[in-house]
Amino acid sequence: MLQAGERAPDFLLRAIDGTEHQLANEPTLLVFFETDCPTCLLTLPYLNKLAARLPEAAISGISQDDEAATKALAEQLQIRFPVLLDRDWKVSEQYAPVAVPTLFLLDGQGQIVHTQIAFDKAELNAMTAALCAMMGQEVFVLAEPFDGNPATKPGCTSRHLEPRTEGEMAAALNPYAQRGARASHLELSEDVDAEEYCLRFDPLPVLPPTLARVERMLNASTLAPDEVIALVPPNYGQATVEKIAANAVMAGCAPELMRVLIPLIRAVCDERYNIHGVQATTHFAAPLVIVNGPIRHELGFVSGSNVFSNVARANSTLGRALQLILTNIGGARPGEIDMSTLGNAGKFAQVIAENEEENPWEPLHVEHGFAREQSTLTLFAAEPPRGVSEHNARHGRTILKAISRALATIWTYRICLMFEAFVILCPEHVKTLQRDGFTKQSARDFLFENTGIPLHHYSDGDGEGVQYQHLFEQVTIDGESCYRKFARPEQIHIVVAGGTAGKFSAVLGSWATGPRGSQVVTYPIE
């Protein structure tokens, strides 16, 4: 971007009234703007006011949008200074504003004396004072401090920096984001097999992240390649958009999947989820990703039969990309920093979608406060799934009893209160539950009330859970004295997934939960 002290390049631009304009030999204020930028809409009325107070001042608006949109805006805001069209961004490229609105104040000799990015009342007043001084006019306050508008407001990316065609990537798209270093290039000589070489990034074969493939992935995102999305624990490596894209290529993701991968990386590095602990524990825990909303159909996530299997490119490659990012950027490679005792097959990839079409109740994301039409992803630090087979039960409560028996053994059979679980209900089971009048809440309450550990188990001898016995709540379940397994019904999460044939549900226990462990997080996908 051109700075104060530099010479302003001349131009010849057509205004919306058809007249042609170039730089005049007098103090001039140029403002680059877009018609759909809220900060531009906030700024332009102040410049209108400036034009009214200083009718002799040469103020020019330079629109980066087409004539129709620009004319509509000029009419709406009653813009009283000339509005020029820079639709091919030739002038924008010369002045190179990183964001809009950007103001350039030029003296009578065509030298830039002041620049201002986005909306800032103090800057606007300083620029007004400078313009007044150059014109020999009395200084006045253009932007009052308490006029109802904020003191500052960030702008939007300048149009000329947005991605246009494939292979032509903007250098900087969000001027306010944290920037990281660009990835280095690995140059392989002709005798090196790229696929073999890439086995150092993962024990399974990956698609080599060539320049062209990574660029295609980057073009699918509106973010700058060097924008830091998160620092990935436990090594706190910088997950820039470019590094994420390189790993997404290796996982075989379709470029559209960047839409999900970016919020997924933000979510997995959310302090509440505590991926640091999830990656460093010797426990089984592996991230379980649950996708909800219209994105399931838009990008081909499978929610039906084989939902936990290698059933669809979207499910498998998203899960694999997440794992590659956690190891290659975060550093928790199994066998190195990740010293899990037995590990988890979910560390290959573990992404399921909720079968909302077979769910008679509200889906997970709606329960978490999102609109049904909002796509989301939810993360849970999960033990491997254990199956609950129940083909002969005639009633919903019998199915729930079977599930409660599996819930009773999560983590280990004598520990209570401290763990959570996801119950994955298959369509056939949920159908029976609904027929018998269960709502999602009443099914959850039933599981909470009926999941307990018989007291006689505590005479098996010392063991995990026995030391906390004094904290547990004693209840009677089916005439038997038990400790309640869960502290609250909300520790039991319910999702519907799987194929419409077969009466197999599943239960997944948690790792350490709450603020001292890992908390379930749900992020919107835009």
Binding site: H185, N235, T281, R516
Partner: protein
């Protein structure tokens, strides 16, 4: 033509750290014991504290505790051990 790949690995530079100098004796020293707050950590560290004092002549034992074993020690816990001018700190796992 050579193939060019985008490096998918973390390239953030980290400052190399030198390991602390090993103590030649524990006699008269101040030793910090950091409990990572796993179950049973207090039993283990109580025993270590007794051994350090009775058998090795350790002058002071400073006990600190992480709020949770699942996350790195917060700055306040590390500061507590630094401010106590420990000659060495032993971090205790348990279970």
């Amino acid at each position: 033509m050579p193939t060019i790949l985008i490096n998918p690995l973390n390239e953030s530079q980290r400052e190399p750290r030198k390991a602390a100098t090993k103590l030649s004796t524990l006699q008269g020293k101040t030793i910090g014991l950091l409990d990572i707050s796993k179950p049973g950590g207090n039993y283990f560290l109580d025993h270590v504290e007794r051994l350090l004092k009775a058998q090795y002549g350790v002058a002071n034992v400073i006990r600190a505790m992480k709020p949770t074993f699942t996350k790195p020690a917060p700055a306040a816990v590390i500061e507590q051990l630094v401010n106590a001018r420990c000659d060495a700190v032993i971090e205790a796992l348990a279970d």
